[in-house]
């Protein structure tokens, strides 16, 4: 079966259970088991090749440029681990089927389980370290889901987050390490990397890579100082603990160290870091385990301790160490998984895992008792059980390992570790099963042996324990095969035999010492416990939560004050940044003398300048009086317009002055709702700060502008073309207008759309406001200032009646002339709008709009559409969008005049401008309508002719 399929099967299977909950628990478990079995069979189908020393390889390109490819390979090491994962997986599935209660969502559970299983298989089969990384992180994610499976338990949520945080961190470190490693080796394919031991170990980056990779391994395998997360993961359902946290996931780190052994091991860095960490973990784990009252916690720490043992063995860097490690991985998987299952059974039957409240169970649960005892004794290192064999190999290896301090230190510590290891095993047995017989009622639930479904799997494992333990020669070739895979071509597989009796070697004495010492410790358990509880210990959970909480509050302290919605500070920061970056650009460049002469200025510009400055400063110093600052900005606009005329830009002047009028009307409409004065709020310090920023910014811009004004462009401006072809190609002598409607008509098109959108937006917001909570407030608003009488003064009304038509005509005139003389659609549009606004101001909003025939939405839409369709029109003569054409026609009595498509486009502009301006102003004044003000039915308030009968005949 293809390796792809072996990896894929669990993932494919994962899709099913989640969606077939309704089909029942049996079906869920069945499907899950079937997929696992299929994968397992697929794996076994490669057994002949692998066991005969061959390697199965397959691959597919995924991200070749990066060297991230879907390459898999199956060698004895991978085969061994994949076998563990899938084999034990099947047992776990059966066990879980009976372990989970009815109100657990079994489909969800098995989905997660299969996800995890697939990820694990992926890790051990990856031939590409980036691919391996992906599966690596997937195991973290799926275990996050599995640990948090019981969502209602806070312990579950916290345990899951802790596991994710720690292993996630390790994973990220691993990413760094792997990338560096791949960068050194020039490839991310394991098969390549494993060939480059010298290259990698000589690289200056070796240590960095090593440390990062080991971070990944240690966090995953709960090595000191990252051992603390594992016990908290025990909040997960027992099958999860048994599967992830004893047999498989925690072995991923071990696996990776074994995988990388040929290229990473053998250096002092490796030796000191790995062996030390392993040794400490082993001893520490063992000691803590002894004093845990929770069955699963005890087992968890024993796992920590044994993982430390294996790590330590790999750390030695010797072939024998590697072999011992491999063998112990196998043994530990069998007895530890059996133990977890037994613990699960006890928990399941007695509804407690608290050792002190247990005891005497051997009478009530004989089968469980047998299974658990054998497994425990194996872990304790009792002969004829597999634990004994690998542990003795460990002791032998340690006996001639020199790390630091006196030569006897490491062996002593190793023995000490195994002593406590034996002790907690004995405690597990005696405090749970031995002791006086008790009534079933004395337990939280009446305990009895479970059905075969639950004791079958551990029973099977225990059989393995005994078989391997008493007939090691059965597995020896396999162990050596795997060891060979670990060693690669870095070392030779040792020819030592795995047997029970090596004669009276030091390791034997150390074993005996451990077992005997273990019994003594158990005897002295109570005083020791008291001493243990007396000694202060750091509580991992508390520390972790504290760290996270600290991180969060640090993060908040970092971001919240910075993002507290103080726009004025945001703006200040932005402006300062711009100035700084601009200054940096300037100061790193070269500047040479001016090339253009300065034109001298007459009285007009100087006077205009004076008034502009006066008005601007006035706005700064008098800005609290809002009406006054509006008047002053009117002056600024006026002066800028005059300046535009002076500097040969009549079109700009006209646009500026008309826009000015409309803007002021708009701001006055808004100011009607806003406070008329701005209170003094900012401190003098702050005002000074703002002043400094403002002055620096102003000076910078001024100097920059001066710099350009006194120099020529690097090449003649493209506008020479516009001047040259405006008449020829655009049919207009007002080059500015031709640029607007022809050369750069696309800009103008976008521009009128901006105007249109602005109006739509304003209208939409008005609607929202008038249909929202604000409505009531608006309707019953009382004016914030006393108002004079005479809403619609007679003189204004009469004047408007005469001047409005004139204004419209002038607008029309400006529109027509625009192409050849100053003017155009924009200005015409603004002029006409102002005319209509005049009418609004004279006779009031209601009176005017009631008589209005044209919906402004329509006007805007029509304008934008006309402009757009004019552009599209040119497609029919196979020309690009907005291509203009023009001709001259003569209809008596009129003299010859020009017809240009540009004029049509300009019409669109005109309409859009009128519509947009009017819709915006209309929206504003709709806000101002108040409930008790009735629509005036007369154009003017005071009209003597109304109440004078003699006048009535003319009246309407």
């Amino acid at each position: 079966m293809s390796l792809f399929l072996i990896v894929a099967l669990p993932f494919l299977g994962a899709l099913l259970p989640g969606i077939m909950n309704s089909a029942g628990r049996q079906a869920c478990a069945g499907v899950t088991f079937t997929f696992t079995l299929a994968a397992f069979v697929g794996l076994l189908s490669h057994a002949p090749t692998v066991l005969s020393g061959g390697v199965v390889q397959t691959g597919a390109e995924w991200l070749p440029a990066l060297g991230l490819n879907f390459n898999l390979f199956l060698d004895p090491l991978g085969f061994f681990f994949a076998g563990l994962i899938l084999g034990i997986g099947m047992l776990i599935i059966i066990y879980a089927r009976y372990y989970l209660s009815r109100d657990d969502n079994m489909g969800e559970f098995f989905t997660y389980l299969l996800l995890f299983q697939g990820a694990m298989v992926g890790i051990v089969l990856s031939d590409n370290i980036l691919l391996l990384l992906i599966f690596w992180e997937l195991t973290s994610l799926s275990s996050f889901l599995l640990i948090g499976y019981w969502k209602h338990l806070p312990a579950g949520r916290q345990g899951a987050r802790m596991a994710l945080a720690v292993t996630g961190m390790g994973g990220l470190a691993l990413i760094g390490g792997m990338l560096i490693l791949g960068n050194i080796a020039g490839s991310y394919d394991l098969s390549v990397i494993l060939q480059n031991r010298e290259l990698i170990q000589d690289s200056p980056l070796y240590t960095t890579a090593l440390i990062l990779i080991l971070l990944g391994c240690f966090t995953k395998s709960a090595q000191f100082p990252f051992h603390f997360w594992l016990p908290h993961a025990m909040a997960a359902p027992t099958p999860v603990s048994a599967y992830l946290h004893s047999a498989t996931m925690v072995k991923a780190g071990i696996f990776l160290m074994a995988r990388m052994w040929p290229v990473l091991s053998g250096t002092p860095e490796w030796f000191y870091i790995v062996t030390t960490a392993g040794l400490i973990t082993m001893v520490l784990g063992a000691v803590i385990a002894l004093f845990k009252h929770d069955l699963k916690a005890l087992l968890a720490f024993s796992t920590v301790s044994h993982l430390g043992l294996i790590t330590m063995l790999l750390g030695t860097g010797t072939a024998f160490g590697a072999m011992a490690a491999t063998f112990h991985i196998m043994n530990h998987a069998t007895f530890k998984c059996a133990l977890f299952m037994s613990a699960g059974i006890i928990d399941h039957e007695t509804k407690t895992r608290d050792i002190p409240s247990l005891g005497g169970l051997r009478f009530l649960m004989p089968i469980t008792f047998v299974i658990a005892t054998i497994a425990a004794l194996s872990m304790a290192g009792i002969p004829f059980l597999n634990g004994f064999l690998s542990k003795e190999m460990m002791l032998e290896e340690m006996e001639h390992t020199y790390l630091f301090g006196p030569t006897w230190l490491v062996p002593a510590l190793a023995t000490f570790g195994s002593l406590f290891s034996a002790a907690y095993c004995f405690r597990f047995i005696s405090h749970t099963f031995l002791g006086p017989r008790r009534e079933p009622e004395s337990y939280p639930a009446k305990p009895h042996d479970p059905g075969f479904g639950m004791w079958g799997p551990p029973g099977f494992l225990v059989v393995l324990v005994v078989v391997i333990g008493s007939a090691p020669f059965l597995v020896e070739p396999f162990v050596k095969l795997v060891t060979g895979a670990v060693l690669g071509n870095a070392a030779e597989v040792p020819d030592k035999y795995i047997k029970i009796w090596h004669g009276l070697v030091p390791a034997l004495y150390m074993s005996i010492a451990a077992v005997v010492g273990g019994l003594i410790v158990l005897a002295l358990f109570k005083p020791l416990l008291r001493a243990w509880e007396a000694t202060p210990r750091p509580e991992a959970k508390v520390i972790f939560e504290a760290i996270i909480a600290g991180a969060v509050s640090l993060a908040r302290g970092l971001t919240h004050p910075l993002h507290n919605g103080a726009f004025s500070r945001y703006a200040a920061i932005m402006i300062v940044t711009v100035i700084a970056a601009g200054y940096h650009a300037w100061s790193t460049g070269a500047v040479s003398a001016a090339t253009r002469a300065v034109q001298e200025a007459g009285p007009v510009p100087i006077g205009g300048w004076l008034m502009l400055v006066a008005a601007t400063l006035g706005m700064v110093f008098l800005h609290r009086n809002r009406l006054l600052s509006l008047i002053l900005i009117g002056i600024v606009g006026l002066m800028v317009s005059v300046a535009f005329v002076f500097l040969s830009a009549p079109d700009l002047a006209m646009t500026q002055i008309t826009v000015e009028v409309v803007t002021i009307i708009l701001l006055l409409l808004a100011l009607n709702f806003l406070p008329n004065r701005t209170p003094v709020e900012s401190s003098p310090v702050r005002r000074t700060r703002d002043g400094v920023i403002a002055v620096v910014g102003g000076v910078a811009i001024g100097l920059l502008s001066l710099h350009y004004l006194l120099r020529d462009t690097v090449a003649p401006s493209i506008s020479e073309f516009h001047l040259a072809n405006s008449y020829k190609g655009g049919g207009g002598t007002n080059v500015v207008n031709v640029i607007l409607v022809d050369f750069r008509g696309f800009d103008t098109y976008g521009e009128i759309i901006v105007l249109g959108i602005a109006a739509l937006l304003i209208y939409a917001l008005t609607e929202t406001l008038l249909n929202g909570p604000v409505r009531a407030r608006l309707l019953n608003r009382t004016p914030d200032q006393p108002r004079a009488g005479d809403m619609h003064p007679m003189m204004m009304v009469v004047l408007t009646r005469v001047i409005l038509p004139v204004v419209i005509m002038v607008g029309f005139y400006i529109f027509l002339r625009g192409h050849n003389e100053p003017g155009g659609g924009f200005i015409a549009g603004l002029v006409v709008s102002i005319g209509v606004v005049m009418q609004y101001m004279a006779s009031g909003f209601n009176w005017t709009s009631d008589r209005l025939r044209y919906p402004y939405h329509g006007v805007i839409g029509a304008g934008v559409l006309i402009a757009g369709l004019t552009g599209i029109g040119s497609w029919f003569v196979a020309k690009p969008f907005l291509t203009s054409d023009f001709t001259y026609v003569r209809i008596p009595p009129f003299q010859e005049f020009e017809l240009a498509t540009a004029a049509l486009f300009d019409l669109g502009v005109f309409l859009a401008v009128v519509g947009a301006v009017m819709l915006s102003l209309e929206s504003f004044s709709r806000l101002a309508r108040r409930a008790h003000v009735k629509d005036s039915e007369h154009p003017m308030d005071i009209d003597p002719s109304r109440d004078d009968p003699a006048m009535m005949k003319g009246g309407a």
Binding site: P786, G789, P793, M795, L799
Partner: protein, 127 residues
């Protein structure tokens, strides 16, 4: 010949306009009462600008292209000036920045002082 005369006339018109414009501004600065101030600029100034426009007309004829449309500007100024003046006066009356006018003979009050009821109790504005 006509050109020369035209130039002289232009110059004269310019000077006259300048004088009137300056008078308008002087009045605006000099007088100490809001309403009194209005007199100078609203019309002397207007006439001044009118004179300048006249100058530009004459000048255009002397230079030959001959234009009359400046008269439109004059017209606009003369039509709109009274309205501006009227509104500014109303503002002054409303804000009490001048002596309150005597009551009209027939009607009870002036339009500006004829404030809506709901505003009557609002405090007097600070001018």
């Amino acid at each position: 010949m006509m050109t020369v005369i035209g130039m002289y006339v232009t110059a004269v018109a310019l000077i006259v306009g300048a004088i009137f414009v300056s008078v308008g501004a002087i009045g605006l600065i000099k007088f100490n009462d809001s309403l009194t101030r209005m007199h100078a600029p609203t019309k002397v100034g207007t006439v001044g600008v009118g004179a300048l426009l006249l100058a530009s007309i004459i000048h255009s004829w002397t230079t030959g292209e001959g234009s009359i449309h400046q008269t439109l500007i004059m017209a606009f100024l003369f039509v709109t000036a009274p309205i501006s003046a009227n509104f500014i006066a109303k503002v002054n009356i409303h804000q009490r920045s001048c002596e309150t006018p005597p009551a009209p003979p027939q009607d009870e009050t002036w339009a500006t002082l004829d404030a809506p009821e709901e505003d009557r109790e609002l405090t007097e504005p600070a001018s």
